[in-house]
């Protein structure tokens, strides 16, 4: 390989740069080039969650790499694979019991915070005796008219836990993917030619249309210890951690999406007249100099 760089590192770096709106196409293109790294890529690049319907219960669930076995996905509600798989991987009966309870708990969490959307929790045993899981939440807002904004939120919380006596150590990695789209269509309004208000009628031909897309993902990690009294303690503990994390990440997303990116646009082009500001500053300097004299 060129320069001895691990191709997976280059692929992940590339995915951190290319537009988040194209993540699925780009991951597929990378897999076509390097089929040997398909598992590494699918396991490390978060992609928008797919909503599927459980054939047995009629309930919606979320599909991602964690409930995939070959080309089938397991539903958390019926524990069945779709398309059916005879020897599809399922959790041990003990872990499945916890998984059922976790799905109920996070479904309640989803209703309280998302007031809609879909949630799914998948658990799996780890080789060293602990277990791991993923909590998925997704909500999509579809516009009813073309001018209304649309958006989607996808949360992926992956955790690992190892029990140490009456304590358990948790490592949580959370990714939130957020996409917001607004379309604008403007026709001539109360507009006039700058400096020539009498030329109002000449502006009738004015029109503009535009589209604004804010999309992306942010990832954060946290490790914590919590007491474990009974198996269901794991649900309370991961519940608290996921809730804290989502509150933090929602604030962070708000800051980056609506604060940072907007500030950068103003760094590119200023609404205020910079030349005027410069002249004012000069004038002020002169005045200060004058007063000092």
């Amino acid at each position: 390989m060129a320069d001895g760089v691990d191709p997976v590192d280059s692929m992940l770096d590339l995915m951190r740069r290319l537009p988040p709106t194209n993540v699925e196409e780009n991951v597929n293109a990378l897999i076509q080039i390097c089929p040997d790294y398909a598992d590494d890529l699918l396991g490390s690049v978060d992609q928008p969650l797919k909503v599927r319907t459980d054939r047995a219960t009629g309930r919606d669930y979320l599909a991602c790499d964690y409930n995939r076995d070959s080309d089938s996905y397991r539903s958390p509600w019926s524990n069945e694979y779709d398309p059916p798989l005879e020897d599809g991987t399922v959790p041990t009966p003990k872990l499945r019991t916890l998984e059922i309870a976790a799905n109920e708990a996070f479904d309640a969490y989803r209703e309280l915070y998302y007031e809609g959307g879909v949630s799914s929790v998948y658990l799996w045993d780890l080789e060293d005796g602990g277990f791991a899981g993923v909590v998925l939440l997704k909500k999509v807002m579809t516009p009813t008219t073309p001018d209304e904004p649309s958006g989607s939120w996808d949360s992926i919380h992956v955790f690992e836990t190892a029990e140490r006596g009456r304590q358990a150590h948790y490592k949580l990695t959370s990714t939130v993917m957020l996409e917001l789209v607004t379309k604008q269509n403007n026709k001539a309004e109360e507009t006039f030619v700058v400096g020539e208000p009498e030329k109002k009628s000449s502006q009738q031909g004015w029109k503009s249309s535009g589209e604004v897309t804010l999309s992306g993902s942010m990832t954060r990690q946290i490790e914590q210890d919590w007491p474990v009294h009974e198996p269901t303690s794991h649900i309370m503990n991961t519940g608290k951690m996921v809730e804290e994390m989502e509150i933090k990440m929602r604030n962070l997303l708000q800051e980056v999406y609506f604060g940072k990116t907007r500030d950068i646009v103003y760094d590119l082009r200023s609404m205020d007249d910079l030349e005027k500001a410069r002249r004012q500053k000069e004038l002020q300097k002169e005045l200060v100099g004058f007063i000092k004299r």
């Binding site: 390989m1 951190r16 031909g205 990832t219 609506f258 907007r262 950068i264």
Partner: protein
């Protein structure tokens, strides 16, 4: 996958590069494709397409200003990548890989030079009023048709962000119209990958009075129209931010549940789950210690 297909994928990656990150993308693509020889000649058309589409700027040899390497700047009738800087009336060969201009030659000004120069000086004064690091180039397409391109880049890799503003106006004094587009791209990538992409198409009609006045005053009136339009674009982007923040963002996920309190997992969930999970707890048997 054939090497031709691999180059095609590499091309699509290059064309998606965020502002100021083309070299990072190229480095990644080099490792992934792992075929330097084919890549080098294969991606040259992609780099060319990227440079032209992104209003890439270059220092004009022997001058103290930059010009935009544009499709409109192509010097016709030659196989080489020769582009014109209308401001200094110099043409140069542009290397799409190294982004360097070489072999400067002076070119004859066009018939429309006085009108073009008037637009250029109005453009430069507009730039200094509203852009921190802007470059503008004005091309004369005929005696009545002109193209204005404006680009402003800010790259701040140490703080993980970059941005690019591009605008283009096709001015036609005969049909008295301006067709414009404004494109803004922002990339914020500290522990994540967040991108803002906006596109704005617009058309403005030029008042009859403007086309009949002397060149310098017509030019400053044209840029007054452009200034008003770009400010309106920015205001409308602000409105979109407000709408997305107030409606979409809040509608997707609440800051807190309706109760305005965080979930009491130990109590609320615990009781509910406790009732439902007595049976399942038994199924767990002895708790591992």
């Amino acid at each position: 996958m054939s090497s031709k297909d691999r180059i095609q994928v590499a091309t699509s990656f290059i064309l998606q590069s965020p502002p100021g990150e083309i070299n990072d993308v190229l480095n990644d693509v080099r490792v992934i494709v792992d075929d330097d020889e084919r890549l080098e000649e294969g991606v040259l058309p992609a780099l060319r397409e990227y440079n032209l589409a992104q209003f890439t700027t270059v220092d004009v040899p022997g001058e103290h200003h930059q010009t935009i390497v544009s499709e409109f700047a192509r010097v016709p009738g030659s196989d080489e990548e020769r582009y014109l800087d209308p401001r200094s009336k110099t043409s140069f060969i542009f290397n799409h890989l190294t982004l360097e201009a070489t072999d400067p030659q002076s070119e004859e000004p066009s018939e429309a030079e006085s009108q073009r120069a008037a637009l250029e000086s109005a453009a430069l004064s507009y730039l200094s009023s509203h852009y921190h690091d802007g470059v503008a180039t004005i091309f004369a397409m005929s005696t009545t048709q002109f193209v204005v391109q404006i680009v402003s880049n800010k790259y701040n890799p140490s703080n993980y962000w970059a941005g690019r503003w591009r605008s283009q106006y096709e001015i036609d004094f005969e049909s008295r119209s301006i067709q414009g587009k404004v494109l803004v791209n922002v990339h914020y990538y500290e522990q994540g990958n967040v991108q803002l992409n906006t596109s704005h198409d617009l058309s403005i009609s030029i008042p009859a009075a403007v086309s009949s006045v002397p060149h310098t005053s017509a030019a400053s009136k044209i840029f007054a129209l452009i200034e008003a339009e770009e400010s309106r674009c920015q205001t409308s982007l602000n409105d979109s931010y407000h709408e997305m923040g107030e409606k979409t963002f809040k509608g997707l996920r609440r800051a807190l549940p309706l109760t305005r309190q965080k979930i009491d997992w130990d109590k609320t969930m615990g009781y509910k789950l406790g009732a439902e999970l007595i049976a399942s707890n038994r199924a767990f048997g002895a708790h591992p210690r």
